[in-house]
Symmetry: C2
């Protein structure tokens, strides 16, 4: 399934899940008495049409509203998945924000905006959470097209302080005409580890003026439970906000601390205190990720206005700042083994832990491509750890989404590093490892790697660092607009010195990985960075059902390009393209995920039009195989490139340019022009947001019938 979902994570994968072998829909576990229904006026949430309705509640109704919201989130999570953990932690804070501040005149910027479910419920969009039929009406992130209460689409991390500084700057420059009151950045749940967040902190005090930075500290703000900031932050919490060093003070910022970050009254009081403040201030609130989830799907804490008391006592924080146990409620831990809701792995990267990855309906389904091929790569690397001490896997957060399982990480020990949400650091760090003779493998999704574009250019490519990059979710997908990987080839393959591979089978993928990670100095080892585009759904489907590769039936997969260490010079042509069917008239070259389409098109051309096309798997997209392109001059009048990424700046147009700039005047023996025409199929230059993949494929002509039609029109 690659349909869209609206819950704010890479939705192309949303209905496949790994791990649990069984599962049950658990909606019935939610006590019906506290699960508000759409249109049920007996419940508070159903009556909240805007923040004004939150302000109109009696003070003692706020806690009841929080309970309803929490129950709604749990039911929603069971059904749809999503970032439930972080939203459960933010229930009281969000209610308090809308109680105190006056959105949209007061501007609230959520970061990462997957923490905005409660905000959406309170700004006229509760039905999307209450009524499963209206699920698709809202996106998983804030979006100004959706509501005047949403400031930005913010799906990557850490930019809220900078954005808020900009809003505040204009307010201060334009004065009353700006129509802007308080500016509030809500940052946390991993975002604070991003470099741009620190750049923002450093500039906020510089700018001055009203700016309120709410730091949602759910103790998942850095890599795992460890990391440089963690100890000082833990001591800051333990001291009630008085201890030094105080990171925020160190950036010149005023500071307040709220220990009871799930006590709506305490939060209301804290926010009222800073409302209309005349200078930047950080309000550090200590929340509980997953607050109210007891592991069995029940709502905890409903008898109290606060669930803040479920925090472990901060006195349990040791001097080293390491908390002895998880901060996620597991009052019935045995449920963790059976319920998808337990997919909070508290010692993992924080972003991963913020995902309630999948709905219950996904339990027991086969792995999605990211997890499938991610696990495969880790399984290939792990046996090498014993003999290769310098082999290190680096994940800038979200390892679990890419099949880098908790179990693997435990076994890998120091061969695995989670750097937190810090792609820039992760790539530079890998370059450092490579320079020292180690073998780094950096893994995350294509769109997150955009954060490290400059490090790809400078530290990695200019320095010829032997870094292996596992590029997940590359290519066209039904993802949110913030997480699309349709731009990865244009990003990576145009950087000088980068080799980008697009394997089309598991065997080839593993051979590519072996080559890229060959020890420095090995025969034929690459002398610079190698990006491996991890196969997606079309290739995984073809591996599971070889009939989707009608010409080869996946047979060529048994003959991947040779890995470095098992071959001599003879036959070693790592970057050569592979002709899987020799034909005439038309050559179909299908890159990576688009390769099965090439075979399928060839089969249709043969069956319906009697054309035996040449079918080529280029296997990489950072250089051209000129010998193969030259060979096509004989007997081919048309060359078709197929790719599931953006055409502009992409791969296929390089083929077009090759023939245009290498025009030959002579004809072949039969008097035919030896300059084949070229057609390029790929994605338009556009953002797409949760559009089903089949719709996109149709839009871009990436279907058998459309390619066949275009081809036959040329003859």
């Amino acid at each position: 399934m690659r349909n869209a979902s609206g819950n704010g994570f890479d939705s192309s994968d949303s209905l496949a899940v790994s791990g649990a072998a069984e599962g049950t829909a658990r909606l019935h576990d939610i006590p019906p008495s506290i699960t508000p229904s759409h249109g049920d006026d007996s419940h508070l949430l159903s009556r909240i049409a805007s923040p004004a309705d939150v302000k109109a509640l009696a003070p003692n109704e706020l806690a009841e509203l929080c309970r309803e919201i929490r129950a709604t989130l749990l039911a929603y999570g069971h059904q749809h998945g999503g970032h439930i953990g972080s939203n459960l932690g933010m229930v009281e804070a969000t209610v308090a924000l809308h109680r105190v501040f006056d959105s949209p005149r007061d501007r609230i910027v959520f970061d990462v905006s997957h923490q905005s479910y409660v905000h959406k419920m309170l700004t006229g969009r509760a039905d999307a959470y209450l009524d499963p039929d209206r699920f698709s009406e809202v996106t998983g992130f804030t979006n100004p097209d959706e509501s005047k209460h949403d400031q930005f689409v913010l799906g990557h991390t850490g930019t809220s302080i900078s954005l808020a500084c900009g809003l505040a700057k204009t307010r201060d420059m334009e004065g009353p005409n700006s129509g802007i009151g308080n500016v509030v950045a809500v940052i946390g749940d991993g975002s604070l580890s991003s470099g741009v967040a620190f750049e923002g902190l450093n500039n906020a005090a510089e700018q001055g003026g009203n700016l309120i930075i709410v730091f949602n500290d759910n103790e998942m703000s850095i890599a795992g439970d460890f990391g440089g900031m963690y100890g000082p932050l833990a001591r800051l919490r333990a001291s009630g906000g008085t201890a030094q060093p105080n990171l925020f003070n160190a950036f010149g910022l005023d500071y307040r601390y709220v220990e009871s970050g799930n006590d709506v009254s305490a939060l209301v009081a804290a926010f009222e205190e800073v409302r209309n403040i005349d200078h930047p201030v950080v309000v550090h609130i200590h929340t509980l990720k997953g607050a109210g989830y007891d592991g069995a799907g029940h709502v905890a804490g409903t008898s109290s206005a606060s669930v803040g008391n479920v925090h472990e006592p901060d006195s349990a924080v040791s001097d080293t700042g390491v908390r002895p146990t998880s901060n996620v409620l597991h009052s019935e831990p045995w449920h963790s083994d059976h319920c998808n809701l337990s997919d909070h792995e508290p010692h993992e990267g924080q972003c991963e832990a913020s995902h309630w990855q999948n709905p219950d309906s996904a339990i027991g389904k086969a792995d999605n491509p990211r997890k499938h091929y991610g696990k495969m790569a880790m399984a290939a690397l792990e046996p090498r750890f014993a003999d290769e001490p310098g082999l290190v896997v680096i994940s800038p957060a979200t390892p679990g989404s890419n099949g880098i399982t908790h179990e693997f990480r435990e076994r890998a020990g120091s061969h695995y590093v989670d750097t937190g949400i810090t792609e820039s650091h992760a790539v530079a760090y890998a370059a450092g490892i490579a320079r020292a003779g180690g073998t780094p493998v950096v893994a995350t999704t294509a769109s997150f790697f955009q954060r490290a574009y400059d490090q790809f250019f400078q530290e990695m490519s200019l320095n010829r660092s032997r870094v292996t990059v596992l590029d997940f979710l590359g290519g066209v997908s039904a993802s949110d607009n913030t997480h699309s990987g349709a731009y990865d080839v244009a990003m990576f393959a145009n950087i000088p010195g980068v080799t980008m591979l697009a394997p089309t089978s598991a065997d080839e993928y593993l051979a590519d990985l072996a080559w890229a990670t060959a020890p420095s100095g090995a025969t034929h080892a690459p002398d610079g960075p190698v990006v491996i585009r991890v196969p997606g759904e079309p290739l995984l489907s073809a591996e599971r059902d070889p009939s989707l590769l009608p010409l080869t039936g996946g047979r060529f997969a048994a003959h991947p390009r040779p890995a470095t260490r098992s071959h001599g010079d003879d036959g070693y042509r790592m970057l050569d393209w592979r002709v899987n069917q020799a034909g005439s008239a038309v050559a179909l070259i299908g890159l990576g995920n688009a390769y099965p389409l090439a075979e399928q098109t060839a089969a249709a051309l043969c069956a319906d039009h009697g054309i035996t096309a040449t079918v080529i798997d280029p296997r990489q997209c950072s250089s051209l195989d000129c010998a193969t392109l030259e060979s096509l001059r004989d007997g081919h009048t048309l060359v078709v490139t197929l790719e599931d990424g953006q055409r502009e700046g992409g791969w296929g147009e390089k083929v077009t340019a090759y023939y245009a700039n290498h025009h030959v005047p002579e004809c072949d023996a039969a008097g035919h022009d030896r300059n084949p025409r070229v057609l390029n199929f790929g994605a338009d230059k556009e953002f797409t947001d949760r559009v089903p993949l089949d719709v996109l494929d149709e839009r871009y002509g990436l279907t058998v019938h459309q390619v066949v039609e275009s081809v036959t029109r040329c003859f």
Copy 2:
């Protein structure tokens, strides 16, 4: 002049300088007795062939060595320009590093590595600084190809901690086999404001093990003299390193402070104390940028082993952290008005202040293109400030290099913001301003914008933020490999929603700026971000000498595309291409800086071959003018694209792909094929390092004779 230089700043501009109307070479001002010469064994520096020679000196010889190095830097700066100020501050620290540590076994990573001149002198490369004839033997940054003592090419900022973490990781994983001892990151002179530096700090403590972070605090580490970190850092210095909040402690790091950062003995003692330390530690050294420069070219402080005493007393730091005066020595301030050495503007961005921009020989020369067109843009914006309170110019450091002068900034007041070296923040900040209805203009060089690639995608383009980007130094140049702008079109123009303009005259440049910055809601205002590629040398030359535009003589410049606010619908076609000469057979389309080449080629084709070519200025490179492309089908058999940037992923290949994918079967009235062939001229996908532009143009075929030859070969 656009020849290469080796001093580590954008060398394409190195021999043009703004401002001073007169100047004299001042080499004679250096007392000859302390300026060592190449091969003169009576001086210490001439006898330093490697760090071992530094270790062999008697302790009392170190200060003398520092004096010689300082004199050498001053003489070198007069002759060649370069980052003299920061290197003057780092003389003692670098001597002490090589006295204490054992490079290359101990790894020293300089960040920004323009602070490495002294390091180069001590690692076998002193002759390049002593002997003007050997100037070109070293680059302006560290470079492993140049010396085993250089770890990385590091010309952008802030990655040293991450790189050092990687070196240390491999050492700790591989053990004694790694051959790596202490790992030292030397960061400062602006680098610490980069987000990636904070990501590195946060991960350093997490990793543990030996890692020494030398923070070179020359009080230029943040934007101007202000900024959030500044106050706490100033108080930290004033307290001798004992005050809280301590930023480094807040990241969980051990910390040492050295007030006398220009006292070689104190530094040797401090480094000896941390050598072989078993955990990460920050050694905060307080240095004096420009130490030893007295404004008249003399060497100050030669009678003392320390120049640390020239610091203003830290008690002068006010509670707000604002220092009353510059930290650059100006003992004879009247010299500042006459001497290029005074190009330290202490209230500017720190990176700019670290440049001793140009050699004395450049004094009095005309502005280079960056300064020329930068000043022009600021002059156009400044009169609008009074009526447009939301109009804000943002420079993530280095404003002066782009013509954003100190005087402009003073007058602009709050309409100008220097965010420090924080491109990610700057672009997100601009998106925030735009969202609030303001009008942000972000200016820096193309290669630095690589740091904000993700913010371009997410905060700016996906959010349709009306941000104007002034893209300086875009295109092929003789720059250092770290600063090349040859990749800017591939970076910007492939992002969905970005409009990228490439004006070809001052009038058009100003019209583009007016359009991009039109108030939100103005008729025809753009609805998203606009990147303006600031014209380079070929266009400035053509403006100064219209004979370089042989067809139009620059006449069309009087008819730029209409600016938004002066035109109605009629004739308003902002993104249309402009046909400057209607011809036949061949169409020459020259983008931006390559436009004069189109005219010159057309003139040669006419004179030598009787071909009247069509000549087109496309004026932008983010979309195609399909109507114009269609019109060329009649009467043209060849279309030539010319661009001074990378072909792959660039602009011209989009034209090629257009015709390939819009093939028409019919012939024109004369029976000619209506599908013109296309030839693309542009830069190869490669890094280039200080290669003269004429050499690159010849390499890429971007000369009149090569284009003419290619064209005539097609007929």
